[in-house]
Every structure is written in structure tokens, then in C-alpha cells.
């Protein structure tokens, strides 16, 4: 079964052709990082305009690369949220138009389910259940995953997403955008001691994360010890120490969740999962605790359409389709799950 998948939830226009939910025939991502770099972040209005310009050429390119025509496609899967509505609507409109004109079934996919399923493009042997950690610019959440699209939220960030603090700290240090890869690469050059920043682990009763305190700690450190341009070693010490603190928290909460839920397999996905230090530390934890950890390769960790194609395939197999009235959803607030945090 050939699925044409479209993903435009944020700054990348992505189109893929996936066979049987596991083989990538094409996976095109028109990265817009160049467009956004000068603004130090994604500029939403710019993103939707750019999606409109690129989505048709990207769709053509994806079909060509897959040596498939629209008539060969068995179904169309599209991200319907969460994301920026203006951006999502571009992908949805194209998917719906193609489905209508060609009489193909359409199915809407949750972006998060895509991230949790990207791993199946490289590991057919992975079995359920597993612990899923989605860690990106917009999300930092732990899930118990029982099947494709069958997830139970165990914990999530209470303030900033991990990828967001990477971007914000990089901006505060004048390092540019995107913050993740810049900080990852700089940290590899750590010669002396990394600066120690606090780990906000919250209480052991919760699987939630908190990163805003760490962000403030870095800002406070910079106020107390201003950084001049020629202090590269200290800059590296700051970013490496910051990265260590983020990864430590992710690792400890993921470990706690795996033990609590009795899960032997952990899947880490989302843009931050391509961070090399994070991968190293998670692999080390897996060896020590006799668990298996899986990461999609970096190009499948960041936003891509192939992961949407995986979920779409499984939905079509179950006979699930969406009507042409399918709408985008932006950001439903995280559903209430009991918390031990009391405001005062």
C-alpha cells in the first residue's frame, strides 16, 4: 500500500511516499532554516507563506523520487495538529484537494503520533508496549505506547519544552538559530569543566518536567559573570553545562517512567533526540539498566512526512479515514492529569 504523506505543522514543508508503513520511497523536507535564521526563530506568518510556495514543488518531487504517480497512491495522510494553524491549513488543503480530485481516501494524523512511530521506518522488529519520549521545540512528553496512535500521556513539561530552552539559551548567548545543533557541536569541544546548573527534577511523584528554572539559572549566571567575546572556553563550559542539565533531567524522568510502567523498551524521538550527547547518555543508561533504547536517525527525528505516512498506513489498515471536512487543530491545552503541584 502506497501512502502519500504531507506534514506542514511548523517550519518545514514535508512530503513523503511510504510503502506499507515501513519503506520510504521518498521523504522530502524543504527545510526553511535559511529563511528563519535571521529572525532567531520560526516566524509563523513567514512559515505559512513559504509553505504555500513550496508545497506543490515538494509534492511533485516526492512523487517523482518515488517513481509513482498520484494514481498509484492508495491513500493520503496529513498532519492535522498540533501546530501553527496557518501552516497546518496549507498541508490540509493540498491533501484534501488531491484526495477529492483523485478519489483517494484521506486520513488526519496527530503530529505526536508521527514522532512516536518514526522508529518503525528503520526498526520493523520493535514491539509494543514501549515508553515514548517526544522531545522537540514544542513538546517534551512521556507516553506509554500500546500501538500506533494508542498512547497514554505519563508526564510533560510544566513550562518550556526542551528544544525551546535550547533555542532561548542560544539566543541569550548570541549563538544564533537553531540552538540545538549549535550547542551540541560547541559542547563537543569542552576541554575543561562544564559549569554546573541546577536540575529541576520536581518531586519523585511526578513524571513532569520543568525547564524554565534552568533557563533562568543560565540568565542569572550571565548577569553575575558577563561573557566577553574572546572567552570561548567559558562559553563552551556554559553550553555544555546547560546541555548536561537538560539531558540529565530527561534521562532521570524517562528512567523513572520506564521502571514505574515496567517498560523495557524506550523510544526517543523529536528534534532534540538527534542531540549526540543525549543519545550517548540514553545508550549508557540502557546498558546499565538492561533496557533497549531506540532513536530514529536524525533526519527522521526532526519534522518529516514519512513518520506521518507510517501512522496513516496503520489507520488505513484499521479502516479509519477522515471526511473532507477534516480541520486543523492548533494547540489544545494539555489535558488535565492529576498533579501534585499546588500553586501556593
Amino acid at each position: 500500500m502506497l501512502v502519500l504523506a504531507i506534514e506542514s505543522s511548523c517550519d518545514d514543508t514535508a512530503v513523503a511516499v511510504v510503502e506499507d508503513g515501513k519503506r520510504i520511497l521518498s521523504n522530502w523536507v524543504s527545510s526553511q532554516i535559511e529563511v528563519h535564521r535571521k529572525y532567531g526563530g520560526v516566524v509563523p506568518e513567514l512559515a505559512s507563506r513559504r509553505h504555500i510556495e513550496t508545497i506543490i514543488p515538494v509534492t511533485r518531487a516526492a512523487l517523482e523520487k518515488a517513481r509513482a504517480s498520484l494514481d498509484d497512491i492508495d491513500g493520503i495522510a496529513v498532519t492535522r495538529g498540533p501546530g501553527l494553524v496557518g501552516s497546518l491549513l496549507v498541508g490540509l488543503s493540498v491533501a484534501k484537494s488531491l484526495a477529492y480530485v483523485k478519489g483517494k481516501p484521506l486520513v488526519g494524523v496527530n503530529h505526536i503520533d508521527g514522532h512516536l512511530s518514526a522508529v518503525f521506518l528503520e526498526r520493523e522488529d520493535l514491539t509494543f508496549p514501549f515508553l515514548g519520549l517526544v522531545v522537540s521545540g514544542g513538546h517534551t512528553s512521556l507516553y506509554r505506547v500500546e500501538g500506533v496512535g494508542e498512547t497514554q500521556l505519563l508526564g510533560r513539561t510544566r513550562d518550556d519544552a526542551a528544544g525551546e530552552v535550547f533555542d532561548k539559551v542560544a539566543k541569550a548567548l548570541g549563538l544564533g538559530y537553531p540552538g540545538g545543533p549549535i550547542i551540541d557541536n560547541l559542547s563537543k569541544r569542552l576541554g575543561s569543566e562544564a559549569i554546573r546548573f541546577p536540575r529541576a527534577l520536581l518531586s519523585s511523584k511526578t513524571l513532569d518536567f520543568s525547564f524554565s528554572g534552568l533557563k533562568t539559572a543560565v540568565v542569572n549566571y550571565l548577569k553575575a559573570h558577563p561573557l566577553s567575546r574572546d572567552e570561548e572556553d567559558r562559553l563552551i563550559g556554559i553550553v555544555a553545562g546547560f546541555q548536561e542539565a537538560v539531558v540529565d533531567v530527561l534521562l532521570r524522568k524517562a528512567g523513572q517512567a520506564a521502571r514505574q510502567e515496567g517498560l523495557e523498551r524506550i523510544v526517543v524521538s523529536g528534534g532534540v533526540a538527534s542531540n549526540s550527547y543525549l543519545r550517548e547518555r540514553f545508550c549508557e543508561m540502557a546498558r546499565n539498566e538492561d533496557r533497549a533504547v531506540f532513536f530514529p536517525s536524525p533526519r527522521l527525528c526532526t519534522d518529516n512526512a514519512a513518520m506521518i505516512g507510517v501512522v496513516g498506513y496503520h489507520y488505513f489498515q484499521k479502516g479509519w479515514t477522515s471526511p473532507l471536512s477534516l480541520n486543523a487543530f492548533a494547540n489544545l491545552p494539555t489535558p488535565p492529569i492529576p498533579t501534585d503541584e499546588v500553586l501556593d
Partner: protein, 165 residues
């Protein structure tokens, strides 16, 4: 009528309590603009605001920097906007965000200084300044009579209660 209120906060919890107090007095259609540098406590303030507006405490008020907007149901719904990723002076009108300004809920905008000309004149502006690792100064300014009345009420309440713990 109270136009400006200056409060010194000594912790994130104290910033949240000020936010909650303000939230208790806001009305449908109120607009709260927040400015202040990275890590100054804007999201903390809005967490308190949400509590004051009666948003279920199990809804985590998280930073919408990446997603631009989060909506929370409450006694009065809260629209939490974040302009961190916008370039300076971006036209909010073009983005459709102004639809929230005149809706039935309370709109709170982080990094409002990035789009000052597009923030409606009837507003409560909260500027948070860093005064030390754990201390901040909150300068709350009300524009318009309704907002001045709200600030007056907040100010009276603050005199009665102590915010330190």
C-alpha cells in the same frame, strides 16, 4: 484612580501570587500585555493569572513560544499568546491574532513589546525587571478607566495581604 502599581517580588511563587490576584479581578475582554527579558517570570505570572481566572489547576500553563498560542477554559477563558518568535514590529493583524483581543476571554500576551503598536490601547501592561537572581520588580500600568478600577482593587488587596511567605 490607580494607574501604576509597583510590586517587588522575591520568588517565582510570589510572582504567581500577584498574577493570581490580578486574575481574580479581570473581566471578559481584559487584555494583559507582558514584557521583560528571558527568564524574568512572564510565564510564571500567567500561571498565576490562570489560577485567578479559575482555570483548572490540572491544566499546565506552559510556554507557547513555539506554538504561539494556547487556550485554557476557565471561569473566563484564557488566551495565552507569546510573540517571542516574531520579528520586531510584526503586523499582528496579518497573523489573525487580533481576533483574540475582542473575544469573550482574557488575553495575555508575552513579549508584547515586540508588537507594541498592535496591542490595543485599553490594556494592563506588566513589565517585569530583573533586580537579582530571585527578585524582580513588577510594574503594572493600567490604561483606560475599567483597567484602572481593576488595578485599584488589586492594589487594595495587596495592602491587606502580605505576599511574602
Amino acid at each position: 484612580m490607580k494607574k501604576t502599581l509597583i510590586i517587588d517580588s522575591h520568588s517565582a511563587a510570589e510572582t504567581r501570587r500577584v498574577g493570581r490576584l490580578l486574575g481574580q479581578f479581570l473581566k471578559p475582554g481584559s487584555l494583559v500585555a507582558l514584557s521583560g527579558e528571558l527568564g524574568s517570570g512572564k510565564t510564571q505570572f500567567i500561571k498565576g493569572l490562570a489560577s485567578g481566572l479559575g482555570v483548572d489547576k490540572n491544566y499546565q500553563v506552559t510556554s507557547p513560544s513555539f506554538v504561539l498560542i494556547n487556550e485554557y477554559p476557565g471561569r473566563i477563558p484564557l488566551y495565552h499568546l507569546d510573540l517571542f518568535r516574531l520579528s520586531e514590529g510584526k503586523d499582528l493583524e496579518e497573523m489573525g491574532l487580533e481576533e483574540y483581543f475582542y473575544g469573550p476571554g482574557v488575553t495575555a500576551i508575552e513579549w508584547a513589546e515586540k508588537a507594541t503598536p498592535f496591542v490595543p490601547p485599553q490594556r494592563i501592561w506588566v513589565d517585569i525587571r530583573w533586580t537579582g537572581p530571585n527578585s524582580r520588580q513588577l510594574r503594572i500600568k493600567a490604561a483606560g478607566q475599567k483597567n484602572a478600577q481593576i488595578l485599584e482593587a488589586v492594589s487594595k488587596e495587596i495592602k491587606i495581604r502580605s505576599f511574602k511567605q
